[in-house]
């Protein structure tokens, strides 16, 4: 997918501060960013660097302390519930922990039917809805017939995360924020999930903002990479530039920390 030069989601001086006075924590400190249509962006950083806070602000789940977020060329406006709903039709997320992402009291059908309702197809006959759900599950190699009337906790972690992707498939948002979608999953399922995400991007042409602490993974999937340390972007460039010619010390350290075969692992910074 060719990336365009149009800025789809951007931010100027975006800041998030938690607490007051002595307990004040600056989680995200005046960051600027431009995400283009159709590209895969990775935000890489260690735990506590503010990646997830930034993601929640982009999703509109957390308020922004200072700064502006631009969406589709305009200043983002999500002040009323109705506008929020409209915004969320275009931007969706996959969370880190599949086990806590589901409401354990709702059946899987409820979750998928909600997506169909949100697409504005509430009045579709039930057969049609089942067809849509079967199609979505088929996309992620799940069988709807086996899942129907089951509860989320009856699935494995990999199945749950695939179901999350099926949900995105149904919603077809224009931007997907994937907050460490593979970090709670074993290595085998990890590749499958990633491939599905990439396949989904090709299928419905969306921008993916990939949040991870694994710089190797970021290199594998993304077009451009943002390196985040203590709430600041220390480096931002295309993936090749960042990995092959890192400039910031922090990036160098991150790359050094990736374990390599036939080489002794440097634990000096751990």
């Amino acid at each position: 997918m060719a990336k365009s030069n149009e800025i789809f989601l951007g931010g100027k001086g975006v800041t998030k501060v938690y607490g007051f006075g002595d307990k004040k924590t600056v989680a995200v400190n005046k960051v600027d960013f431009e995400f283009h249509k159709g590209e895969i962006v990775s935000i890489v950083g260690e735990s506590g660097s503010g990646k997830t806070t930034l993601a929640k602000m982009l999703l509109g789940l957390h308020s922004v302390t200072a700064g502006e977020i631009y969406y589709n060329g305009e200043l983002r406006d999500i002040r009323s519930p109705r506008k929020k709903r409209a915004y969320w039709k275009g931007i969706q997320a996959i969370f880190q922990d599949p086990f806590s992402s589901f409401n354990v009291f709702n059946r899987i059908d409820t979750l998928l039917l909600d997506c169909i309702n949100m697409r504005g197809q509430k009045n579709l006959p039930y057969d049609k809805k089942v067809e849509l759900m079967t199609q979505a599950c088929g996309f992620v190699n799940l069988k709807f017939a086996e899942l129907t009337r089951k509860y989320p906790f009856e699935l494995s972690g990999g199945q749950m995360q695939r179901l999350m992707i099926a949900r995105i498939f149904l919603l077809k948002p224009r931007i997907l924020i994937a907050d460490e979608p593979t970090s709670m999953i074993d290595a085998c399922s990890r590749a499958t999930i990633l491939d599905m995400l990439l396949k989904l991007r090709d299928e419905i042409d969306m921008t993916i903002i990939f949040i991870t602490h694994d710089i190797g993974l970021a290199y594998y999937v993304s077009d451009s990479v943002y390196i985040m340390e203590h709430g600041i972007f220390v480096e931002r460039n295309t993936a090749d530039e960042v990995i092959l010619h890192p400039k910031a010390d922090y990036t160098k350290r991150l790359i050094k920390d990736v374990p390599k075969i036939y080489e002794e692992w440097d634990l000096s910074t751990v």
Partner: protein
């Protein structure tokens, strides 16, 4: 749901509590069907002992049966008091020249000591150092016992309405018995009567019923207020949270029992119906439910499943009802059970100090305690007027608390032993 119920009924504590509570509940459900009399009807008199009461004149009129049984022993044991037995023992030990001390100490039962005394007692034996009064006391005691031993029965006579003369109606021998079932007029008070002469058992069942209703209403009101405010404060946050927390803290700082007393006395004697008292109790006991629901809601508010629900475009009421409430439901059920138990206790406390429901149409457990205290049942030894009430209160709150502990262990596995 079914699975959770199975899990709950595997908890021994819950099952024990449930069985006790179910027993109480079935009793108050079915007892009024069997005993249909008005529980507040004053049949007896002040603190009658538990037992069956039969009409004496009916006993005379009823067909009698001869039964070959030693009636004297029982009669003697019953009519010679413990003090009189002690007198006999004193005489035997101090004044009797013939009896051996072992014989006296061997005679343990009332009848044995009476028999021993009758055997050795002699008016003519000199009682050294005893006053005339003491000597006469023994003579009188001897006559009394002799009378019982030689009783030939009674002759019952009735005044003839026309002539005014006494006519013999019946002669009753000592070995004549009547079947209690033949007597048409008899009243059973399994737990005696209270100060107003009401049957304590019937009254107790009615009182337990009213008290459970009060507890249920108070618990429902308290849980409804606490749950609504807690969910609202916890989920919405911000200014609403501040205001609700402020009100909750205010209610927590002022002891709720004081507020309860003030409201109850403010309502006045005429205005305090049982159900109004329940609402007042509920209105003062919600803060802790509110606080804990709020705390739990805050910890749930930022969970991913709530975020996902928001992203799915669900409205605030829907998120609260489907994504928050089910997660706190098990806790709320436990809190509800505790609120019911504390509602019953609060009513009892209020009534004990005379601020309970002021009505003469219903009895509550607290009112029964209050009446027993006011008529000094503990002083007059009328245990049946308050011990069963205390036990009922204890049983109900014990069973409810046991159910709560059992539920707690099922839903918080960390607490399981």
């Amino acid at each position: 749901m079914k699975y959770q119920l199975q899990l709950v009924f595997k908890s021994q504590k819950f099952v024990t509590g449930f069985v006790i509570f179910a027993a109480v509940f079935l009793l108050i459900l079915f007892y009024p069907l069997l005993v249909t009399k008005n529980p507040l009807e004053m049949t007896g008199g002040l603190f009658y002992k538990p037992g069956t009461y039969v009409s004496v004149t009916d006993a005379v009129d009823t067909q009698s049966y001869k039964i070959n049984k030693d009636v004297v022993t029982g009669k003697l044991t019953k009519s010679v008091t413990a003090e009189e037995q002690q007198l006999m023992r004193d005489w035997l030990l101090n004044y009797c020249p013939e009896v051996k001390p072992e014989e006296v100490s061997d005679a343990k039962k009332a009848y044995d000591i009476i028999e021993l005394w009758l055997q050795y007692y002699d008016k003519t034996v000199e009682m050294e150092g005893a006053t005339k009064a003491v000597k006469n006391q023994y003579v009188r005691l001897y006559d009394k016992v002799e009378n019982i031993l030689e009783s030939e029965g009674y002759i019952v006579s009735r005044k003839n309405a026309e002539t005014g003369e006494m006519e013999e109606v019946a002669a009753i021998e000592t070995k004549e018995f009547v079947n209690v079932k033949d007597i048409p007029n008899r009243v059973t008070f399994p737990l005696g009567t209270d100060n107003f002469g009401r049957d304590v058992l019937t009254e107790l069942v009615a009182a337990t019923r009213t008290s459970l209703k009060i507890g249920l209403l108070a618990g429902t009101v308290a849980t409804a207020i606490g749950l609504t405010l807690g969910l609202l404060a916890g989920y919405v946050g911000g200014m609403i949270d501040n205001v609700i927390t402020f009100i909750t803290n205010m209610f927590t700082v002022i002891p709720s029992f004081i507020i309860l007393i003030l409201i109850a006395s403010g309502l006045g004697q005429a205005g305090r119906g049982a159900m109004l008292v329940a609402v007042v109790i509920g209105f003062t006991s919600w803060p802790w439910t509110c606080r804990s629901v709020r705390a739990q809601t805050i910890s749930l508010r930022n969970r991913d499943h709530v975020n996902l629900s928001k992203l799915s475009g669900h409205s605030l009421p829907r998120i609260v009802l489907t994504d928050i409430l089910p997660y706190v439901a098990s806790y709320v059920v436990m809190a509800y059970i505790l609120q019911i138990a504390s509602g019953i206790l609060s009513e009892a406390q209020l009534s004990m100090i005379g601020l309970g429901p002021s009505t003469n149409k219903v009895a509550t457990l607290g009112l029964m305690m209050n009446w027993a205290m006011q008529f000094q049942a503990p002083l007059s030894g009328a245990w049946w007027a308050f011990i069963p009430v205390v036990l009922s209160i204890a049983m109900i709150s014990f069973s409810l608390n046991l159910m709560n502990t059992g539920l707690d262990q099922v839903f918080n596995p960390q607490l399981r032993e």
